[in-house]
């Protein structure tokens, strides 16, 4: 499906700040069947925007705003083509990838409760069935609740509460897979819906829109390669998903990261608009 995405982020500061440095992960990925035909990023105040590619292949845009200001606006526009399903790449793992997609992290630590949860849904000697079983298990046992957790909630806590948002669903899926020796990585991006959905849960998204920031998971199955699974909706990735970044967990792919000098508090306002274009 052909999608045009306009993602606007407004940083509001309670008082003027200066020497601000901002990093953003907004550029949709190229690969696995997804094509990004066009991407532009502009800022207010105007300034040079630089970018680099991090070790997971994500494009990180960054810029500095040194003079005094109390507002920064970032406007990203992209033109993407999504495949009907996730087309796995046959690239072999580097030793670092092999380690990263199995090792525990801060958000996804080793934990008894997670291991027993995972074993309940495991299908012996069948990683594919295990992965799908885990996905369905999470979908059925966890309640989607934007109020229960926050951006810092770690997987064991979400499991204890049995509630969370897509970030928590994804972290738990990672936890389950990794504890059973199945390599898995975190995916962040957008989920498009033809009709307006409830206000997205990502920080700052207040108005209903037809696209929400979303998180799901890639799982590596020996025979099939990478498979992309969404435990929040209990389905494989479809053409409605736009992939923006991957990593070990949320900490590797924050949509924005920044630092500034000043005593102000920061508030984020985010608008995501998506238009489905005819092919």
């Amino acid at each position: 499906m052909r999608l045009q995405i306009r993602h606007t982020t407004i940083f509001h500061y309670s008082e003027a700040i200066n020497e601000a440095y901002t990093e953003m992960r907004l550029r949709p990925l190229e690969g696995a069947g997804q094509r990004c035909y066009r991407f532009s990023l502009m800022t207010e105040p105007r300034g040079e925007v630089m970018s680099y590619i991090d070790r997971y292949g994500n494009t990180v845009h960054h810029f500095d705003t040194l003079q005094s200001h109390d507002r920064v606006v970032v406007m990203a526009a992209s033109d993407v083509e999504t495949p009907p399903t996730f087309l796995s790449e046959p690239t072999p793992f580097s030793p670092l990838d092999a380690y990263d997609f199995l090792a525990p992290t801060d958000y996804v630590p080793l934990a008894e409760e997670i291991e027993s949860f995972a074993r309940r849904h495991a299908a012996a000697d069948d990683p594919q069935a295990t992965a799908f079983g885990l996905m369905e298990g999470l979908f059925r046992e966890l309640v989607y609740d934007p109020q229960a957790t926050d951006v810092k909630t770690r997987a064991p806590e979400a499991l204890r509460l049995k509630r969370g948002v897509c970030q928590d669903f994804a972290h738990l899926m990672l936890a389950g897979c990794r504890s059973l020796g199945i390599p898995a990585r975190y995916v962040s991006g957008y989920l498009y819906s033809a009709r307006a959905v409830r206000p997205a849960e990502a920080e700052g998204e207040k108005r209903p829109s037809n696209a929400a920031s979303h998180a799901w998971v890639d799982v590596y199955l020996a025979e099939r390669g990478w498979v992309s699974l969404d435990p929040t909706h209990n389905c494989e990735q479809t053409e409605q998903y736009v992939r923006v970044a991957t990593g070990r967990d949320y900490a590797d792919v924050p949509p924005t990261r920044g630092i500034f000098k000043g005593a102000a508090s920061e508030e984020l306002e985010v608008h995501v608009e998506v238009k489905a274009a005819p092919h």
Binding site: E15, A16, N18, E19, L66, Q67, S68
Partner: protein, 335 residues
Amino acid sequence: MLSRVADALYWMSRYVERAEDITRILTVNFHSLLDAPVEVGESAWQPIIAITGDEERYRQSYQEYNARHVSEFLLWNPANPNAVTTCITRARENARSVREQISSEMWENLNRLYFLVRNLDREVTGRGPYEFFDQIRYGSWAFQGITAETMTHGDAYEFIQLGKLMERADKTLRTLDVKYSAVNTMREGPEVSLQLISLLRSCSGFEAFRKTGAAQLQSSRVAEFLLLDQTFPRAVGFCLHRALRSINALAGDSIRPSQLSQHSNPQRMIGRICADLEYLNIEEVLGARMHPFLDTLLMRINQVGDEITRTFFNTQVILPGRAQQPAQQQQQQQQ
């Protein structure tokens, strides 16, 4: 020179000068007010606070104006960022951060002053403050002398001079403003002379003024002396001319190669003020015209202080402009 280092040297010097000036104003007025009739008490102490520009802050801590409250406020009240003990402490903090730039003698001197104010017994001092006043003033003069004799007269030295001169110009102006207004409302009589003497002594200028050959103690002559004289070290004219010299030494050819004009902002601004003062006829600003004139002058000098900060200490980054206060507050170091 690193901006941070220049900033620390400038403010180390400004804070020492500020401590000295406030102490001197207190000393002089203590003496004169002890002679004053009792009823005058309140209205006699209030002008001292007015000189510092901290009236609002004072009123947050105290209801009345009297010897004890005013001294407490000006000497060591933690709510007053311009208190003498706070000034010495901040001067020493700045010195410590740039210890490499100053001589060990300078550091030792400041350190000694710091321990003096830190270990002060306020009760004892409150009862007999003159020794304390002396220690502060002599400590400050020693600091200036040691600086002049033990530091190479390069950029670091110029920043120290600049800080001292800017602070001194500010204080002389404020003192003149408050005392001249007071004198202006008085009727002719010995009271006026006493006030003028107090004004001159507050600027250490009584004897120097006498030597100018002015026959009579007239407010116009005193104002002219403190404002325009270019040889007396505490006169505003002297301070600003010397400050211009320091800035010229520091600015070199230009601040930024991209600058089209030849002079940086602080140079232009101070140059203009010096020229205005040089060609000023004191008759134009006597009487009721003095206060608005001095007020504007003070504002312009504070603007120069801002420009110095902007130009030398804060390259590229422009800090948010401070809101204009109805009373010009004494400048503080950016944290």
